[in-house]
Structure formats: C-alpha cells, structure tokens
Subunit: 345 residues, 3 copies
C-alpha cells in the first residue's frame, strides 16, 4: 500500500505531455523511437457503463463496463522510462465502483489498490514504465467482481516501447506503418430457460447470472473489438502490399492463439520487447491476461482474416477480423495454375 | 485475390519433381539437407469423405472429411525456396465442396481463396515456401464450414526445412533417423437424448448437430491419427536406443501439450525453424492451428507413451500413442534398486 | 522395461546424502550452486490417502491421493549430474495402488513402470538428473487411473539446477532469497442431482463419478496448495522489498498462466534452465504437465496476489495466493497523485 510518508518522486528530469487517446482498433499518435528525454504522459479515462449489442444476429446484448466507452479500452503508448499519469473518472450516473490494474506498473496491485473510484469520483495515479512490452490493463475491484468487470469489457493495453524502438535479434531496427489494436473479449452471457439471452435494465443487474455462466469457463462469445463483426466488412482494417502492420492483441482473461489467414507473424513478441522476437510464426499465443505484438509485412493483395485459430471460436463465437490489402498480386509466391474444372479419371 | 493480369512467375531456376505422399504417421522420402537448387514439388491430394469408426469400444463414428483418406492428411516436405504444386481433386461422389489453406503459403487465404472444388472438380495451385518450419494445412470453405471441416479431420502438415537442414543454437547440424507424424484430431460427436452417439447416412448430414456440439468447445474425442488407439498396440511407432526421432505434432484447431512419457523434447521448435529450438523440455505446446516439431534421441528401451498431457484428454479422450524402443537398459540413468516388497515400520 | 541383466551402475564418483523433504509452499535446504561432486540424494515419500476439505465455504471435500500428505507433494531439489534415490512407501491402510513418474528422469515411463506399490509395499528407485529445469512428477498407475490420481492431488515438482546455478542470457548469476513452491491443483468434484458436492466413505469410492466430472474438462476447483485460500490470509507468503523470490509453479494436468498482480516475472523459464529465461513478463505459461520457474525482485511493499490469470479461475475456482511484502514505498515507481475525490464537470 502506498505510504504518505514516503519521499516524493523526483520529477525534475521529465517533460509533461498530454496524449489524446483514440478508440480501437486505432493507436494514438506516437514516436516509435523516443524523441528527447523521459516524459510524464497525461491521459484521462472515464469508466463508462453502456448497454451494447454483442451480436446483431441474435440480439445478444450486455451492459458493458468500459474505459472510455470502447471494448477494449484505448491503447496507451509510451517508452521505457516514461511515466503515465492517469486521471480516472467514474461518471456520477454509473452503477458500480471501478479501478484499474496496469500490468506494466509496479506495486499496489498494479495501481488497483490506489484507484478505486465510486460513481462521481475521480483519482489520479502516476506510474513509471520500467519494462518494455505490451501489457494488459483492467478493472479489478476485488473478488468475483474482478472477472465480472473484465469479462464485461473493462480491459485494454499499454505498449511500452524501448526508447530506441523495436529490433530484430541482430539489433536491426523494425518499424511499422500502422498499428492494428485488437482486443479479444470473452463474454459469458446468461440465458433463460428457453436458451434465449437474458436482458437487464441496469449495469450490474446480471451479476449473479453472470457468475453462473462464467464458472462454466465456456464463453458464449469471443469477439474482436466489442461485438461480432466489429472489424469486418466496412469496418475491416486496411493496408497496402509492402506495408508493415503491428498487430497488438489484448486478451485480459483467456488464452488466445491469433493467426493471420494468408499471412504470418514475421516477428512476434509473446513475452516482452526485452526478448528477441520469434519469427515466421503461423499462429502465436496470448497467455490469458496478456497483450502481445506481432509484426507482418503484406506481400499479396486481398482479404486476410485475422482469427483466434480455435476455428470454432473464430467462426461461431465471433473471433474474426479482416484486413483488406491493396496492391499487385505476385504469382511467384502463389498462383492458381489451373482454375477449378471438371475432371475425369 | 489472384489477378489474371499479374506477371507470370519465373520458373526457370526450378527443377520439377514428384513427391509420393504416404499415410500418417509416416513421412515421404526426402532429403534433410537440400540437394541441388530449388524444386517445384508436384503432389496430388483427393478430398475423400468416408465413414470412420472413432472408438471401437463405443462404436462412435464420423463421416470424416479427409485429404487422401487419412486423418491427418499426408505430411508434405520441402525446403525453403521450393514450390509446392498441388493438384486437388474432389471426387464426383463427394457430398461437399472443399478447398485448402496452407499456413506455410502467402496470400489468398493461404490458397483457400483459389482452391474451392465442388464434387467432380480439380484445381492446381502452386505456392512458394518462404519460411522454415512445420505448418498446418486445412480445409476452409468459409464461415462455420471452416471448423466443421477441420474438426471432421480435414487437416495436415507441411514441413519446410531450411536448405541446410536443422541446427541447434550453436549452428551444429541436427539430424533425425525417422519422423513420427502425429495429427491430433478433436472430434465433437453429437449424441442423442440417451447420450448415445448419433449415426448419419451421409457426409454433411451431421452439420447442425455438430455445430451444437462444437460450440461447447469440449471435444468428445481427441485422438492421434484418426481414432482411439490408432498408434498403440500393433500400430505403435518403433525405434531403437540411440536413434533420433523427429515428432511432428499437428493440431489444426485446439491447443495441445505433447509429452513423451519417460523421454523429453531434446530440441523443440514451437515457433519456426528460423528460431533456436528450446531444449530439454518435459512438455511442449502446440498453439491451436499449428504444427510443431520436437526431436528426441532414445536412451532407454521400453514402451514410451506419447500423450497430450492434459491427462484426461490422454486417457479418456484418446490422445495417446506408443513408441516401442529396443536396446539395452542403462542402470546409470535409472535403476529399480529394490523391487516392490512388503515393509513394516 | 529395466533389464536384470544390464550392467550395474557405477556409483563410485557419488556422495550419498539425505534430503529432508518439507511441505509446500516451502523448499528443502539446498545449495543454489553445486558444492562438491555429484550426489546420490536419498529421499522417502509415502503415498498417503486422506479426506481433505477443498473449500471451507461450501464444505466441498475430496479423498486426496498424496505424496507425504500434501497437495502438491514435496519439492525435490538437485543439480544436473546428481541422482535421486527414492524410497516410495504405500501405507498398509491405503485403498489404492500408486507409483511415480518423474518427468525429469529417463526411461521406464519416468520410473512409473518400476514403482507400482500396493498397500503395504515399498520400492526403491534411483534415477539420474541429466536435464536442468523444473519438472513435474506424478502418480500414473495406468489408463484412466492416471488422470484420476493426478486430479486427486498426486503430483509435485523436482527442480534440477545447473551445477553453476541460474544465469541470465549474458551468463550473469541469478540468485534467489527464497522459493515459493506453488502447486496448482484442478479438482473435478462430483455433485449430486441437487448440485451439492457428494461425499464418500473411502478413497477411490468416487472413481466412476469422478470420471464423469473429469470428462467435462471443466474443473470445479483450481487451487494453489491443496485448498481454496491455502496461501492467503495468515498463510500468505512473506518477503521484503529488495528480496528475490523464485516462484515454482507446478501444474501436472492443465494449462495455467501465472501472474503476480503488481509485479512481474523478471526472469521466466517456461522450457528449461538450459534455455535463456524470458524477461519482463506480465503473465507466463505453464503447459499442462509442467513445472515452471519465475524469478522476481520485489520493488514495492504491500500485498501481491499471485493468480492463474484466467480471472474466473482465480476468483471463482480458487487459484489465488498472496505475498505480503514489507519495506518502503517508492513514489518514483507509483504514486497516488490525487486520492479519490468527487468531481464535477
Ligand atoms: Cu470496473
Ligand atoms: Cu491482471
Ligand atoms: Cu473440406
Ligand atoms: Cu488456419
Ligand atoms: Cu496414486
Ligand atoms: Cu506426466
Ligand atoms: Mg451471429
Ligand atoms: Mg518491477
Ligand atoms: Mg505482454
Ligand atoms: Mg474407448
Ligand atoms: Mg510472407
Ligand atoms: Mg508450426
Ligand atoms: Mg469459497
Ligand atoms: Mg534423456
Ligand atoms: Mg518444466
């Protein structure tokens, strides 16, 4: 627990900046290689509770618990040695207490012990990023409320870049043209005796029903960015052949295994940016309660499906996103030599 | 999507060869270190649908969807820089459309977008192997048909060797005496109201029942090479003390954790052959939708059980194979100093 | 199978010592860097069956099958090149046959084939530790009895240290001040038609009911060190700021993803001590059927929750332990800049 008698932090070497957070799947404006000395990065997040449709086909809905209204919460980016200074506000019309645990931080349950805010309250927490990597953050009010809030959408990621940017195992710089920030959310939606999804009047009203659904350990949905289809069709991610995307996959609760259909993880950091990336992976792993980064340079145009490669979860539970990539086809990499035709033997 | 206007591939530096595919757990004839320049390796696979017994004890059966009639489909082997040229044929008496997505390839959904064949059709796809490693391939006709086909057996592996063969972290050559190609297949077999496994007249007839079973995410079976006991007893794998086996484990849908009871993974490539192998592992990991290679040199004779070390899956769902190893026992590694005897205290 | 005609082991270079095993979460007295030449380490374990409360809140109980009465069984520690010589005794009043499979050993199903002891019997097995790492051991009597015994508590870990101790990737020594040996146990407790946990008169009586519960692959409990809350409150682990703890996590059956809330895995060995540790991890992975080591140096005082970061398993199934850490708070790492207060916008 923080101690009021502890020496004050020496902030003299830091420059204060504000970071405008943006909704997923996008990333805030940032430098890949740190410019100048360490910063205190000021951000604000609001703990918003909102009724949200999870699957338009079935009408399944949830009173989502969110940071800034989105599932996942916004991506935060800094460099090793920077400090994040968060103002966390719980609107007066909220039903529930919230807080935040940053996996990237050190002490006080990741800040969870210092940030409990009731409806109408705000708190300010500052913490130093000492370890490079992508890290989950999430609400953790205590006991069963922890998985309840996390499986209602209250989680996101911080990326702590090395000051010198990303490197391959030989120390060569690795840079990206864009970030695709994908939060995978497992929902455990209660059903009634007829197998229909229940509806609720208020956030929190589904608490006891949700615990019953959660204890099966079997989600009814596992979606990318809040709802089934949130990153497909007109909401698909965009890229061009030759461009490099950094895919940040956040899963705050449950293991996942991302795969880019038709592509690869050229460089994958499952553990941290302090370790050499793994290379040429077909499918990588997100230890439940982690954020992971994978980098890929597109070599062919077309539609790529990005999935949790438990294909049941991808196709039936919602864990599918799309990249639409423009450019020229390369027959040297792949060619349909003979189009489908009738054969006789 | 492939573009008819794209420049033709330059195939001038390639030698054409045919590879005879063989049924699992065996590997096709191949060189560990590439001989000569890059090759275009011609293979043929047929999308065969067949009624198959999954467990003789219970009579549980499935209309399996297969490549070449086996679960998993045949192992394909090439080197980085080679091309695979596949003729894929869907027999006229099939019930269903099929295609193939090669995780080792680049573009067009891994070839899935270019290879849809209806009953009576064939297609020819050529793709270049650019990344070293073991990779899953599987049918992916779209939507819920993807997990349906994959969990009905329609998957296998490609091994793309480095041209110079396998190496340890210090660059020393690692060679093997044999390959054990083990596909782990999770089945989700529908049951009737009495808990008996349902039977069906035709491939595909179990579709809607299967979706209900799949969405539980809990397989009724998880077997090595098509059925319970397919690699035990008279079908056990064989080796000798001092021999090195490369165990290739393919799991196209669901995480697994292979373990060789009484042995180890001396060298394990979970990510790719482009990364250093992990060493001395008790249990390794197959990210669902991956193929993984583990190398072991037998030091003792006897029976080794190769399992998915979720021991419930090994013992109750079918995920057990056996190696029978001949040679001389080494008391310096292990000795029964006192055989079981009565004691009194 | 061991062969009576094999040459006897040459034990001339070994010194015999006895190791007193202690109950978890503690570690036996040991050297981190090996002192002197190789040893034959004599240990004794008893296969104790006992009725145990799993959750005091619900009264859920199990006839646990144990090594030395604890879940997990005691931690065994040696160095590469040492031999473990185990006397395994099955008390005369036991109901069941037991044995032991050491993942760290080589041959005879990890010793499982040489150690079957019926009630009233003892056996002595000696095996050589050739691979550095943390390894699971467990009972493996055969068939469905394997997961039955393992999910009734009959498992533990051996740590085989490199003779020169632990190192970082650059070869610098890594030492620890204490070990926290945490066994995660998944239980599948049968319930009656009213959803109440069943009770049984004798060890083994729950066998067929347990198989039904196990085949769901969904545990009713996943606890650290035998029961819900076994390592929290007055049983919490202790440390001081600046101290380094080596957390050894054993999960003999089911994947886990340990996370230290408010801290990190500074160094994590998921595979073996023969590989470089991963660094700065938020959440690490235990492949089901593995023991894993993670090292952390505490930087802040307070309570740290150590969890399986499937937060449902942590909060609802029991997978939570606590570290209570004394020392001075460091505002430079984290500071509550503004305590919770009302806000108006
Ligand atoms: Cu909350
Ligand atoms: Cu957390
Ligand atoms: Cu198919
Ligand atoms: Cu795939
Ligand atoms: Cu036992
Ligand atoms: Cu085992
Ligand atoms: Mg839908
Ligand atoms: Mg720290
Ligand atoms: Mg991370
Ligand atoms: Mg059977
Ligand atoms: Mg590529
Ligand atoms: Mg692979
Ligand atoms: Mg309780
Ligand atoms: Mg060995
Ligand atoms: Mg281990």
């Amino acid at each position: 627990k923080a101690d009021a008698t502890a020496a004050p932090a020496d902030l003299s070497g830091f420059t204060r900046v504000k970071m405008e957070l943006v909704a997923p799947p996008f990333a805030p404006t940032h430098d890949q290689v740190a410019v100048g000395g360490p910063k205190i990065i000021e951000i604000t997040m609001e703990t918003t509770e909102r009724l949200m449709v999870v699957d338009e086909d079935t009408g399944a809905s949830i009173w989502a618990l969110t940071y800034n209204g989105s599932v996942p919460g916004p991506l935060i980016i800094c460099h090793v040695g920077d400090m994040i200074e968060l103002t966390l506000r719980n609107p007066a019309d909220s039903q529930m207490e919230h807080n935040i645990d940053f996996h990237a931080s050190t002490g006080a349950l990741g800040g969870g012990g210092l940030t409990h805010v009731f409806p109408g309250e705000e708190v300010v927490l500052r913490w130093k990023a000492t370890k490079p990597g992508c890290f989950t953050y999430h609400c953790a009010p205590g006991g069963a409320m922890i998985p309840y809030h996390v499986t209602h959408g209250m989680n996101g990621a911080v990326m702590v870049l090395p000051r010198e940017g990303l490197k391959d195992k030989d120390g060569n710089a690795l840079t990206y043209d864009s970030i695709a920030y994908i939060g995978e959310q497992d929902y455990y939606l209660p059903k009634d005796e007829n197998g229909e999804y229940r509806t609720y009047e208020l956030a929190g009203e589904d608490y006891s029903d949700s615990l019953e659904a959660m204890v099966t350990l079997t989600p009814t949905h596992s979606v990318f960015n809040d709802a089934v289809g949130a990153l497909t069709g007109e909401h698909a991610l965009k890229a061009k052949v030759g461009e490099t995307v950094l895919m940040i996959h956040n899963q705050a609760n449950r293991d996942s295994r991302p795969h880019l259909i038709g592509g690869h993880g050229d460089f994958v950091w499952e553990s941290s940016f302090g370790d050499q990336p793994m290379t040429g992976m077909e499918t990588w792993f997100v230890r439940g309660g982690s954020a992971v980064a994978a980098m890929y340079t597109f070599e062919q145009p077309g539609v790529y499906a990005y999935v949790n490669h438990n294909l049941i979860e991808a196709a039936l539970l919602g864990a599918t996103a799309h990249f639409v990539v423009e450019g020229d086809w390369n027959n040297a990499l792949m060619e349909q030599v003979v189009a489908p035709r009738a054969f006789t033997i």
